[in-house]
Symmetry: C2
Subunit: 419 residues, 2 copies
């Protein structure tokens, strides 16, 4: 039995990183290289577009398929990946073993299709690590206490990896994907967008929520909770260090907080306004309780200064939920004694994120000046401690992102910019 | 909770019966129809050519992949099938649940890729049957006591079905395939081959071993051991009754044993002769022990009358094992003091099978007369209680099968023929 190494590393590979035998050999080499230094736990997603193919099959067989049987089907994708990844590592001469979600000890709640991890029973992985094996774990899946197969829903494999890193007190959790890190904004919009070397969990959550598709916010939230250091990097260019995602506290200690870390664009939102709502307690609560019961997640909520005895309440939500949400609002309009409902799905949300903006009052004015200079009308504004979001017309969105990226000098340097 | 029905039925569907959503809907209707009368346990194979696709993938990733990781990979095929079958049954309005091999309680030995079933823990299936659900079980797979996923090897899904039928004392085990039963011979050779209504386990084992690809002999052996009634039928023509496979004892009680039930042709064999072997104890044992150690299964073994102090020993074996077997024989030739080794891979084995032949001495002579009339030279003969096999030249094999089929009047009636 090989002596257990001092540090454990979790590495996670998404679908594009395990799409074919060539990709699988590439990631196997990464795992073996890391195994020289660490105990390595590997989490893999389903190969390429497998999950979509399985969903299509389910829809053909039963368009209403969901719950338990859909989980049974979807969980197979990752099982294929773990088996071939372990085979590939073995071929390259390193011992490896694949473990399903249940073999790896992922105990979840029983909410099928979107289960949350309740516990990781570590014994089995520990035994294999002690044998000197690279342990390849199926992401995205677990098992209930009753022995039912579950899947974790969106961002599931990232979440599996972070949960393992937390449970095994890993030195780091590397999330390998098909891009080489997190950028100051979408490089398809701003060609000289900068790769970030460092970003806090908090900023990453905001950027992820705002449309940077690299990491699912759920996994970053878990990393924040358990203080797991993440690294976003490319399996196609593993020599690059990627972007480090660490705690805001440590970034503050290093005095590396930035006024603006990144600019995000989200064109998949719509807004609804409920006009003339009486100014009395409990009304807003009624609206958002009704929406959350139907599983519609609301993003920006804006209620401005009351006009005499009534308010206008507006909120943004995913475009795909607009129709359902309008119906719900219409239902409760009488009950809450509002006057009318308005909506717009032709909008774009442009946001700046930066953990350092709270102490730098110039940030907001720089942002609004930039919009003004470009002749862009702001329809709504919402702010949090580390974020300012503005709703504008979608045909002006790219122009806005470019101008803001330049105004905060994000393209010239990856050094912190003091506003 | 619906009251448990009096009888339990196991139905098994092979890969061609679950190849696409249309096929799956077809078999779902069969299951629901049977569920009106029985508690139904469904065993499904992987969809269409899935298993071959998975084996190809494994070979691309690691040509030496085997054992544990190959099982992990291959077991996924059946998981897809059970999930979509359960979804499809649900769509048609009947409650259904899918169970993996481990969920269904299939405990196996730890021999990966060819595990034998040690036990079926029945509690979970019983619970779902008591709920009125059709239980869809993944064939071909199980789990060891240590929690490792195993597969059962060739004929695995048929074997899973028969094992369930034995464990649950099922009234019957229906094996659905793409043909409507077992025939007196291969209908591609003899156009008017007859579908058998009834055949004994013993005869079916011989026919299956001899090249009738409908049922794997391993599953029929298990059915014989536990006295499980099988029915071979088509999922594409479920209104047909197919062929009943029952115990020889019951066929004898019904006085329905036939002199000749079927004619089988096997062109995938070769033979090896070891010449001039000294006539003393232990020699033959040495030869076949060496072969079985290398996992080469020998079929016919022929040793004729000794000539003075030495023997010639001949045996048939699968063509694909000929090269290995010749090397082994060459190795031990000196040790056993034989003179030389001869072999031929250009042979065909024609066999007749019939549980009633033992009491009807005319059968062998009818067979040999038929060969003589057709001018076919017999190279080797071997017999068992219910079988006579002859090795002949392969270019005469089809002619032989046709003539024998006619000589025993197999095409005219499915009534027993008294020789």
């Amino acid at each position: 039995m090989a002596p257990l190494k001092k540090t454990t590393l979790v590495v996670k590979f998404g679908g594009t990183s395990v799409a074919d035998p060539e990709c699988i050999e590439r990631i196997s080499k990464i795992c073996i290289r890391e195994a020289k230094e660490h105990n390595v736990i590997v989490v893999v997603s389903a190969m390429g577009k497998t999950t979509n193919t399985l969903v299509d099959l389910a829809n053909k067989v039963n368009p209403n398929a969901r719950g338990r049987e859909l989980d049974m089907l979807l969980a197979t994708g990752e099982l294929v990946s773990i088996a071939v990844t372990a085979m590939s590592i073995q071929k390259l001469g390193h011992p490896a073993v694949s473990l399903t979600g249940w073999q790896a000890g992922f105990i979840t709640e029983s909410a099928h299709n979107k289960a949350r991890i309740a516990e990781i029973k570590k014994e089995r992985i520990e035994k294999h690590l002690a044998n000197g094996e690279i342990v390849v774990v199926a992401g995205f899946q677990g098992i209930t206490e009753e022995g039912e197969v579950t899947t974790l829903g969106r961002g599931g494999s990232d979440t599996s990896a972070v949960a393992l890193a937390a449970a095994f007190k890993a030195c780091r959790c590397d999330i390998y994907t098909d891009v080489d890190g997190v950028y100051t904004t979408d490089p398809r919009i701003v060609a000289n967008a900068n790769k970030l070397e460092l970003i806090s969990h908090e900023e990453m959550i905001e950027l992820a929520s705002l449309g940077a598709k690299v990491l699912h916010p759920r996994s970053v939230e878990l990393a924040k909770k358990y203080n797991v250091d993440l690294r976003v990097r490319s399996s196609f260019e593993p020599e690059k260090e990627g972007t480090k995602v660490i705690s805001l506290k440590r970034i503050k200690e290093m005095e590396l907080t930035k006024a603006v870390t990144g600019v995000a664009l989200d064109t998949k939102q719509a807004w609804i306004g409920i006009m003339g709502v009486p100014d009395k307690p409990g009304i807003v609560s009624k609206i958002f309780t009704s929406l959350s019961k139907r599983n519609i997640s609301v993003d920006m909520i804006i209620q401005s200064v009351p006009r005499e005895t009534y308010n206008d309440v507006a909120f943004t939500l995913p475009k795909e939920d607009l129709k359902d949400a309008l119906a719900i609002c219409q239902e409760i309009l009488k009950e809450i004694e509002g006057t009318k409902i308005v909506s717009d799905s032709n909008i774009a949300k442009v946001s700046i994120v930066g953990a350092g903006m709270i102490n730098r009052p110039g940030v907001a004015s720089t942002l609004f000046n930039t919009f003004a200079k470009e002749g862009i009308n702001i329809q709504m504004i919402a702010t949090s401690e580390i974020k300012i979001s503005c709703i504008i017309a979608p045909d002006q969105a790219e122009k806005a992102v470019k101008a803001i990226h330049q105004a905060f000098e994000l393209e010239t340097s990856s050094e912190p910019v003091i506003a």
